[in-house]
Structure formats: structure tokens, C-alpha cells
């Protein structure tokens, strides 16, 4: 198979699995999972790390020459807070990739599309590579593409629920229409959910809770990595349509070409 790199912003990625670093029992558990997963993009919450401190327990274990650190603006309640958090990352850590999360709603951490779009416009203008976390809203995805986002990251189901692709139909529309990579984020609880997203044509997936709270996070990371790869190959191989009616394997109009 020829090279199948994913381009986000100006970076080529071999792995289509992005890993979140929250909820692990320790930095060691996280690093073991990260290395086993083969992921190249690692997200971390700006509110959790001391971005300007090389001794920070999370930052100090991740080698920036091997991994792309993707800080997120988790905790931001509006566009202004998200923009300010992103600028802290840029100023203190020299990082200009940002996973934009505006999640004012405390219970399900659902993203606020209106504020996300506002923040995205500003951050793109300020020179950031912006990867926004959004509801599976096809029109919002197009609007974010228009303002210059590097990807869209629609949710499969709410963060931490492990419910899989509850937004499947809308995700399919986003994937069909998008001219930027679609990274399915949030709610992927099993490797089969990740494989399903990749089979549908998602460009990548982001996984955190399912790996970090597994009994053996490293092994679960391996399982997700294989599922993502399998789903991707299946997609590229031209998967068959799912149909309710039986279909003859010799097409009915084959005789016309004889």
C-alpha cells in the first residue's frame, strides 16, 4: 500500500490515532500507553499543566521532538477564555497548535458552537493551527473550514461516556462534505467504535477515557491502534454498502458488456 500520510496543517502524520492524556493513574501509565499506541499527536489540558515549567510532571515526560503536543482549552466557558488560554500556550510554551474546546455546559461538557466559531476565527487570524472540538453539526463544520481551521473534531458521543458513534448519521455528512481532515473525538469507548469511525472515512480519531481508565491502559492503546489501522485499510479498500436487501454478486446488467 502506498504511503497514507494524514496532513494536518503543515505536518504529515503516520498514525491516525490521537491520544488524550487526562485521567491516567500516573504519567508513567500515560507514557506506556502513548508509546504502545504509536500516536504522534498528544493532547493535554492547558489548565492542568504548567506550560512554562520544563519540570511539569506531564510535559517533562513527553519528548517534543517525537510528539506533536496539542494543548486544549478545556475549561473555557466562552470564546474570550479559549483565546486567552491559547495565547498562554503560545507565549509560555511556544506552541501554536491548539485544540479548541469551549465547553461551558458543566454536565456533559458539550461544545458551544457559537463561541467555538468566534474563537476559531480569532485564533486562525492570530496564526494558530486550530483543531476545534464540535458537535456533529455539518454546517458548523463547513463554517469552521471556511474560517481556516486545520481540522474539525466532531464528537461521537459526549466526552467520557464511551457510548460510541451516537451521532453517526451527522458524522457521515460531515465526512462527505469536508475538505479538511475530520477527526472523530470523544465518546469512543471501544476499539470497534474507532474502527467504525475509520471505516466511515474519518481521517483520524482521538481517544482518551477508554484507554486511560482501562485496567491495562497500554494493552488498550495497542487495541485502539490496531482498530484504527484496520478501519482505515477497510475504508481505503472500498468497503461494501450495507443494505437491507440481498444483492446478486453477478450484476444484473453484466450481459451488456459481454
Amino acid at each position: 500500500m502506498k504511503s497514507d500520510e494524514l496532513f494536518v496543517g503543515n505536518r504529515g502524520l503516520k498514525s491516525r490515532l490521537f491520544l488524550g492524556t487526562g485521567k491516567f493513574a500516573s504519567s508513567k501509565h500515560m507514557m506506556d500507553a502513548l508509546e504502545a499506541s504509536g500516536a504522534e499527536v498528544v493532547t493535554m489540558a492547558l489548565r492542568r499543566v504548567n506550560i512554562d515549567d520544563p519540570q511539569d510532571s506531564l510535559l517533562s515526560v513527553i519528548d517534543p521532538s517525537r510528539y506533536i503536543i496539542l494543548p486544549n482549552t478545556a475549561g473555557a466557558r466562552d470564546a474570550d477564555e479559549a483565546v486567552r488560554l491559547a495565547h498562554i500556550a503560545k507565549r509560555s510554551g511556544g506552541i501554536d497548535w491548539i485544540k479548541l474546546e469551549v465547553t461551558p455546559e458543566i454536565n456533559h461538557l458539550l461544545p458551544d458552537g457559537v463561541e467555538t466559531l468566534k474563537a476559531a476565527e480569532k485564533l486562525v487570524r492570530d496564526g494558530f493551527t486550530v483543531l476545534p472540538y464540535i458537535q456533529a453539526d455539518p454546517l458548523l463544520a463547513k463554517r469552521l473550514e471556511e474560517v481556516g481551521c486545520a481540522t474539525v473534531m466532531p464528537l461521537g458521543s459526549p466526552i467520557g461516556t464511551n457510548k460510541g458513534l451516537k451521532t453517526r448519521d451527522m458524522l457521515a455528512y460531515i465526512i462527505q462534505q469536508s475538505q479538511i481532515p475530520v477527526v472523530v473525538d470523544a465518546g469512543l469507548g471501544l476499539p470497534s467504535h474507532a474502527a467504525e469511525a475509520m471505516e466511515m472515512g474519518a481521517d483520524a480519531v482521538l481517544v482518551n477515557t477508554a484507554i486511560s481508565i482501562a485496567r491495562y491502559p497500554k494493552n488498550m492503546a495497542i487495541a485502539f491502534s490496531k482498530a484504527v489501522e484496520a478501519g482505515r485499510i477497510a475504508y481505503l479498500s472500498g468497503r461494501g454498502d450495507v443494505s437491507d436487501t440481498a444483492r446478486a454478486s453477478s450484476p444484473l446488467t453484466g450481459f451488456l458488456r459481454k
Partner: protein, 371 residues
């Protein structure tokens, strides 16, 4: 058309919960426990006397849900008492104005020493506490403290006398990330008996304080009842109802619940209801199942062994190595304490307990620059 908590909560409602609690059957508990999303009546079933048989199952569900929502993490915070001046008379509290002993209020440099002591240990989440005396401790005093601690802290909390909306807007501007205010008890009759002098006498006024915090746009509120002052089941039900009201009304504000038990107080005071260890387990796990994303806070009032077990069951935030008197860390260890700490282990011990249990201690969960 904003409503206040006193519009939706009164003693009649509380009485109706009392009647409901008496009639819970074992099969009601089982049904509630099998649901994914619990309503308030399910919550009442889980805290009922009837629910004894299912406590283990409830604990398992609570642990799983807490892991899912919060992961293998535990937030650490430290209380920093700045003054024991108080103009209220509360029968259960050592700071009560009738207690004739020397009072202490930290000055700026003493405050700095205490902050340095805590930040050297790793704390970035610090809760400023004081007795309630707005004349001796004006808002400008707290503004000064907040400004001084700001460069060193990721999160600045406040547990002082209640303010009005304007006061909280002022505190938000001064960099406060969260405010803690306990109702103490939601039993109006008992409340009035226990609070005999000072502005705290006014039950309904205090009931609405978290509304002002919500309206001010402050990010985080902590509420709670001092369990044991009145019937604990009804007080826990009231706290849960209050938390639920707050998360619905102020949907951008994070709500945490503390579950302090009062066992003894100043001489002559005895709590009305005893909250056993198993009751505390029932309370914490029922709160988790009813309010999956709610913070649950555990202080050093509780003994070591119990704290170590509760880590697994639904608690999301703990204090460690605490003192409850102004200057208690370095400046004036002998000043008047609010209550006795039971778990005296230094913070490094708590950190290793957490790590041994597979929990990552979280020191920082917000950014000081954002306040």
C-alpha cells in the same frame, strides 16, 4: 425572571421527602440503582434506611462512574485560615463570638508566609477561610490577599461571610475562582436554634447566597451541610436538591458538595444525629449516582483509614496536612482553631497513598493567569 433557591425549597417540601423516605421499599432501591440516569426520588431511595442490602452494589457503581467522569485523579487543595474573628453565635463552632479568647487576623506578610509554606509543598489550589466579621474583615482585606497570592496559585477559593451580588462581582474581579458557603443545616427550625446572634441568623438569606455567586459569573461554588446538626438524610437530600437546582439554573458554574460530619463542638454542644461511617459511604455514593459530574470534597476531619477507603468511592477533591486556625501552618500554630483535624498526615503521605491506589494527585486544575 430569575428565581432564587428559597422560591423552590421550603420546609413543606422537606417534610414530603421525609414521608417518601419512610415508604421506600427494597425493590424501589434496586430499581433506582439499575437506572442510568437517576431522578430525585431515586436519590431519596438510595439514601433511605431501607438501602442497606445494596450498599456494595451502589459503591461499585459509584466507583465506576467516578472513574469514567474524573479518571484516576484526585484534586488536592489546602485551606488557609486568615482570621478567627466572628460576629455570629453558632453553637457548634469554636469561632462563636461568645467564646472569649484572643482573636487573630493575619497581616499581609504573615499571609505571604502561610502561602509560601503551602506552595512549597506543591499546593496550587488554596482556599482562604475566615470567621464571619465584615467590620473587621472588609472586602478590601480579601482583595489585598487575593492580589498577593495570585502569582503563586492556579486556583483561589474563598470561604468567608456571605456577600450580595455586588460583593461577588467585586470578588470575581479580584480573581476569585470559587466560593464555598455552607447552609450548615437546611432544617429551618434547627438552624434558628443553633444560630442565635449575628447576620447568620437569617436562614433564607443564607439559602440564596449560592444564587448570587451563580449570577456573579464566578466559576465554581461549593455547598454543604454540617451532617449531624439535624436529620442527616433530610439534610443530604436538601444539599443534593440545592446542587441540582444550581447546575440547572447556573449551567456554566461547577458545583461541588462537601460532606463534613460534625461529631463534637464547643462544650455543651452535641449533634442531633449520628452519621456512621457506613452512612457516609451511602451519602457519597448516592450523590455521585444522582449528580455524576459534581465535585465531592473530603476534608481532614475524617480519620485516616476511612479517608483512604473513600478515595475509591466517589470523592474528587481532598485536603491534606491542613490546619484550621489563622497562621496554623507557620505563623501562629497555637491560635484558636475552628475544629479539630483528625487526619494529621503530611501531604507527602497523602500523595503516596493516592499513588499506591493508582490515583494521580492533581495540584493544578486551572490557570492563575485566567482569573
Amino acid at each position: 425572571m430569575s428565581s432564587l433557591f428559597s422560591d423552590v425549597f421550603d420546609s413543606k417540601l422537606r417534610d414530603s421527602w421525609g414521608r417518601f423516605l419512610k415508604n421506600v421499599r427494597l425493590e424501589d432501591v434496586e430499581k433506582s440503582l439499575n437506572k442510568d440516569v437517576l431522578d430525585f426520588e431515586d436519590f431519596l431511595s438510595l439514601i433511605s434506611v431501607t438501602n442497606d442490602a445494596f450498599l456494595e452494589k451502589q459503591a461499585q457503581k459509584s466507583r465506576d462512574l467516578t472513574l469514567k467522569r474524573f479518571g484516576h485523579t484526585m484534586q488536592l487543595y489546602a485551606p488557609l485560615y486568615v482570621s478567627n474573628e466572628c460576629y455570629n453565635a453558632c453553637e457548634y463552632c469554636s469561632f462563636t463570638k461568645d467564646n472569649v479568647i484572643p482573636r487573630k487576623t493575619l497581616n499581609a506578610s504573615e499571609f505571604d508566609r502561610e502561602v509560601t509554606f503551602l506552595t512549597r509543598q506543591g499546593f496550587q489550589n488554596i482556599l482562604i477561610l475566615s470567621g464571619e466579621d465584615q467590620r473587621k474583615l472588609p472586602l478590601s482585606y480579601f482583595e489585598k490577599l487575593l492580589e498577593r497570592m495570585s502569582p503563586h496559585c492556579a486556583y483561589k477559593g474563598l470561604e468567608i461571610y456571605p456577600l450580595d451580588l455586588e460583593g461577588y462581582i467585586r470578588m470575581r474581579a479580584a480573581g476569585v475562582d470559587g466560593v464555598v458557603v455552607y447552609q450548615e443545616t437546611y432544617d429551618e427550625k434547627v438552624y434558628k436554634e443553633l444560630h442565635t446572634a449575628g447576620p447568620k441568623r437569617l436562614f433564607h438569606k443564607r439559602l440564596n447566597v449560592p444564587d448570587w455567586i451563580g449570577q456573579s459569573g464566578i466559576r465554581h461554588v461549593g455547598i454543604g451541610a454540617l451532617l449531624g446538626l439535624s436529620d442527616w438524610r433530610l439534610d443530604v437530600a436538601s444539599v443534593a436538591y440545592h446542587a441540582h437546582y444550581l447546575t440547572q439554573t447556573y449551567w456554566k458554574m461547577k458545583v461541588s458538595i462537601s460532606v463534613p460530619r460534625i461529631k463534637k463542638g464547643p462544650e455543651g454542644f452535641a449533634p442531633q444525629d449520628e452519621v456512621l461511617d457506613k452512612d457516609l459511604v451511602q451519602i457519597i455514593t448516592a450523590l455521585r449516582l444522582f449528580l455524576p459530574d459534581c465535585g465531592i470534597v473530603l476534608s481532614t476531619r475524617e480519620p485516616e483509614n476511612l479517608r483512604d477507603h473513600l478515595i475509591l468511592l466517589g470523592v474528587t477533591q481532598m485536603s491534606a496536612g491542613s490546619t484550621t486556625n489563622p497562621g496554623g501552618y507557620e505563623v501562629d500554630p497555637e491560635s484558636l482553631k475552628q475544629f479539630d483535624i483528625v487526619d494529621h498526615r503530611p501531604v507527602e503521605n497523602i500523595v503516596s497513598v493516592l499513588q499506591n491506589k493508582g490515583y494521580d494527585p492533581v495540584w493544578k486544575d486551572w490557570d492563575g493567569e485566567m482569573s
